[in-house]
Amino acid sequence: MDSDAEDSDEEKITGKNIEAKSRALDRKVALEAEIDKEEMQRAGGHADEEDDGLVMFDLPTAEEREEEKKKGGPDVQEVQRRIQECARVLGDFKRYAAKGRSRSEYLEQILYDISNYYGYNDFLAEKLFQLFSVDEAIEFFEANEVPRPVTIRTNTLRTRRRDLAQALINRGVNLEPIGKWTNVGLQIFESPVPIGATPEYLGGQYMLQAASSFLPVIALGPVPNERVLDMASAPGGKTTYLSALMQNTGIIFANEINKARTKSLTANIHRMGCKNVVVCSYDGREFPKVIGGFDRVLLDAPCSGTGVISKDSSVKINKSERDFMLLSHLQKQLILCAIDSVDPASATGGYVVYSTCSVTVDENEAVIDYALRKRPNVKLVDTGLEFGREGFTSYRGKIFDPKLNLTRRFYPHVHNMDGFFVAKLKVEKRKKQQKTAGKDEPMLNGIEEEGAEGEVGFDSDEDKPIIQDAKRKQLKAKGYRVPPRKPVVAPVA
């Protein structure tokens, strides 16, 4: 349009009016520049965006968002577009961000939109969002909307995978082995018959089981004639897999706190022909008291289920900060009980595998880190799983044990299985020396103080470095990064 106007102007140029014309043109250009500037400020855009041929993105302010809410929310496409735009801006903030808008404003907007678009509560959306980079987070949320593939596990106590596959193919089921990492898993694509009610299923030849729940059992790797504990076992997918790996020898204690769920657990154990299982119904925290001395313990801890949102979407709205606190507290209690139930002198084992179907850090790495600090005789070992992401060694200012990179995380958008976490711990014999060393120090101090001073009183200057030191230790214990110790000039009394 502008060029057209200019063209028409140029045609009329004559020697007489050229000066006036050029002046007018200058004025016009200046005016246009001004308008442009205003427009840009209003739109919150950037010159580069127009160069890239992208639509200018208008980040709504907090007031605008409120207004939108009152009107009954924006339409879905608008929100989707906004999420994409925000992700783009956050991906290269320096280049795309509007002047005068901070990163936190964009983050706020994208979180608001994500919780709206995918139907999460604000708290959970933020918690999950923080786990990933922006683009990956959106992939994660997107993957939670799609169901995971149906998978089954061959019961090697009854049949072989090839025979089972053949039998199911004869029923018209379309299937394929899951992957190279397992030799018992089959993925079902489509089936004309209900896959949970075929004669093969009832005969105990396979178990309907998510691919992710193979992992902790593979990591635990029980061998025949061991004593194994499964602390939270219903509905028995992992328990029966354990039993199959042990070829029905040794003994497995399958514990499940919920009495109602022990029914399906027992039914599955009998259907799969596992004869070495004792089913009991205790609170897992009672465990070393009931019976200890296990070679291996599998703790598939009760969790928030943020990894299986595609299966159970009620998690999106019914989990609050308090739930996460309670759960991680319970998990910390359980993992200590699991560790204490292991026989450190076991010839073949001495392992604990901790797993959750959650992706949040405070249910996973934080719990393991806690266990490592509480039980010095425990160390992390490789899970033996050949894929999966490494666990976080630090997360949002918290620093965990550097060995936490040996744990494994699984994500729906990366591995096409439920979000999952697996850690394998080796329990060793307790060493007595460390404990006595810790006890000796305060004793010595006490003696010195008593000997040096007769009168009793407080010297705040003298106490200051001690208090500081204690605070520093406390922070460190909680996992925060602590600034290096300042050179304290010791006050001379």
Binding site: A197, T262, A267, G273, V277, V278, V290
Partner: protein
Amino acid sequence: MRPLTEEESKAVFAKLANYIGKNLVHLIDRPDDTYCFRLHRDRVFYVSEKSMRLAVSVARPNLVSLGTCFGKFSKSGKFKLHITALDFLAQYAKYKVWIKPNGEMPFLYGNHVVKAHLGRITEDTPEHQGVVVFNMNDVPLGFGVTARSTIDTRKLDPTAIIVFHQADVGEYLRDEDTLF
């Protein structure tokens, strides 16, 4: 959890003998390990002695199951075999019945075996004899009691009942709540 009394063992063994006859001794005298029967809350469990000794440490209210559940005693003192005993019955069964693929699902829904669905049957099976029911791929599906002897079945029409249904693996789904 306690060992069976004399009467109880008699009831259990009588029921088992109906299906596996003299093979019953193989359940007691096993070459690999010593096995025993234990009663826990009117359920009878068949379990290796090693497992049993470890399971002793679980308190009675908390113990749900151990080893293999064979069946339960009714309030009137009769013993009823459960489908969970199928593994051992199938292994030692004296008389077997095989049913055709089109008869599998009707049987798994709890129906009797009719002659039209009968694939094979052990020769000289007497009348009212406990039999284990297999499909044609030799997968055990359940057990029952014959209505006629093998010879008599030849003369029957296709809709006549051959085996009275007693238990089938479909119960794992249908009766999960009452089975344990």
